[in-house]
């Protein structure tokens, strides 16, 4: 594994190694609950909270957890956080809880979370683990928001429940039904792949990390 800086740990998950768009993890909630922006935000926040909490605990307790039972211990920690989120949502925002239904409980088996524990939090310092969780959680939320905005806009003509499309616009009901989720994810993945392939074709110079002076600038300094 390459050594990474804290900033890289934080930003990597948001876009360049986005859990959904690059790693294709967590597709079940991505497809199922993104039919409105409000649902996307709630699902994103719930997953974010569980991910950050679990990464923090797993990283803090990594010395105490024997290797043989680590997966069981991770699942136990994740399930505890999910149960708490489930009850909190039901107590605080019952309408959202009703809309998300069984998908809150299914955060337990979201492989983004277990994956980050096994691959990162269980072998890194607490600070880095939390940074990584924040980045990955944010990346998941960004993807859900893109899906939710696109689907609600076309499927219901509104954003966050407020109608924004002209009256003449006939909502494409299919976009808020399950097939709409697949269409939207397909288009977003297509766009992302196109952006990525263009990025890779760009000249190497422009992809240098911050702080490295490009050859042009070096010339200027020399002059």
């Amino acid at each position: 594994m390459k050594a990474t800086t804290p900033v890289q740990d934080l930003t990597r998950g948001v876009w360049r190694e986005n859990p959904v768009l690059v790693q294709l993890l967590g597709l079940c909630p991505t497809l199922a609950v993104t039919n409105t922006v409000a649902n996307s935000i709630a699902m994103g926040l719930a997953t974010f909270f569980v991910l950050v909490g679990s990464s923090f605990l797993v990283s803090s307790l990594k010395k105490l957890i024997p290797n043989e039972v680590r997966i069981s211990a991770f699942i136990l920690i994740i399930a505890t956080f999910v149960t708490i989120v489930d009850m909190l949502l039901q107590a605080i925002v019952p309408d959202i809880h009703k809309a998300l239904g069984a998908f809150i409980a299914l955060i337990v088996v979201n492989c983004i979370i277990l994956g980050r524990q096994e691959a990162f939090a269980s072998r890194r310092p607490v600070g880095r683990a939390v940074l990584d969780a924040v980045g990955t959680g944010a990346g998941f939320m960004v993807t859900l928001l893109m899906m939710g905005a696109f689907r609600e806009l076309l499927g219901n003509g509104s954003l966050l429940g407020v109608r924004v499309m002209p009256v003449a616009f006939e909502p494409w009901v299919i976009m808020i039904l399950p097939p709409g989720g697949f269409f939207t994810l397909g288009f977003i993945l297509l766009g992302f792949g196109w952006w990525k392939s263009r990025e890779e074709e760009k000249p190497k110079l422009r992809r240098w990390p911050h702080g490295v002076v490009s050859s042009n600038k070096a010339d200027e300094v020399a002059a």
Binding site: M1, A3, N35, L64, I65, P66, N67, E68, V69, S72, A73, L76, I77, A79, T80, T83, I84, M87, L88, Q90, A91, I92, P94, K98, G101, R123, R124, G155, N156, P171, V173, I176, L177
Partner: protein, 224 residues
């Protein structure tokens, strides 16, 4: 991770194989116990709020389908008849409940009844108001449904469907939109959501068949 870390990690692996089974069990048991305690404490905080909210939703629904009555009383279905009195110590949620609304002068305006039956995807739960004097419905509100978004879920909020129940004569009959004869028992169904619409109408008629006689009996006793 520095190269040193990795080496110590690698060296530690053979030692880890010798972890006694008792320690593995103890680790998971302690972790499970702690997790359980944490969940119980959150549950104790959340449960009253969840129940409070559910009661609030039900109260709002009763008020809505009875057309904003001044107050209402809860009646329980006990031994095949309606009664406002519950035996001491009995849990009010153990019995089927019906609510009777009154206007400001204390005159009864009607009854609110709960009903549930399968719709297109899952059980539809609804509440409706029924005026036993004129044998008309006062209103209908869906409490729970998982009908198809955009089609079946219009039974929740489509005003031309939901509004059609107020004033309809029981037992009601669903008709295709704009093809009714104007008879008082007709309710316009939703185009594209025939099964969901029929389910709603079925629930109301079946509940009135079951509880209608009880309501009549209760009213007769009340007059006496």
């Amino acid at each position: 991770m520095s190269p040193d870390d990795r080496q110590s990690h690698g060296a530690a692996l053979p030692v880890r194989k010798d972890v006694p089974a008792a320690r593995l069990v103890a680790t998971l048991a302690i972790a499970g116990g702690l997790a359980g305690m944490l969940i119980v404490s959150v549950f104790q905080w959340a449960q009253p709020r969840i129940l409070h909210h559910q009661a609030e939703v039900l109260r709002d629904a009763i008020t809505e389908v009875l057309g904003n009555p001044d107050h209402y009383q809860t009646l329980f279905v006990i031994d095949g008849r309606l009664t406002p009195d519950l035996a001491a110590g009995a849990d009010s949620t153990d019995f089927e409940r019906v609510w009777q609304g009154f206007n400001a002068e204390g005159r009864p305006v009607g009854f609110a009844l709960l009903g549930e039956e399968p719709g297109f995807q899952d059980v539809i739960r609804l509440i409706f108001g029924y005026d036993a004097d004129s044998r008309q419905l006062l209103g209908m509100k869906v409490l729970e449904s998982k009908e198809t978004p955009g089609l079946g879920d219009r039974i929740n909020k489509d005003s031309s469907f939901v509004g059609g129940f107020a004033g309809a004569a029981a037992p009601i009959r669903g008709v295709k939109k704009n093809s009714g004869t104007g008879a008082p028992e007709e309710v316009d169904m939703i185009t594209g959501a025939t099964i969901s619409s029929r389910a709603v109408i079925g629930i109301i008629n079946h509940r009135l068949e079951q509880l209608g006689p009880l309501i009549e009996q209760y009213r007769a006793e009340e007059v006496r």
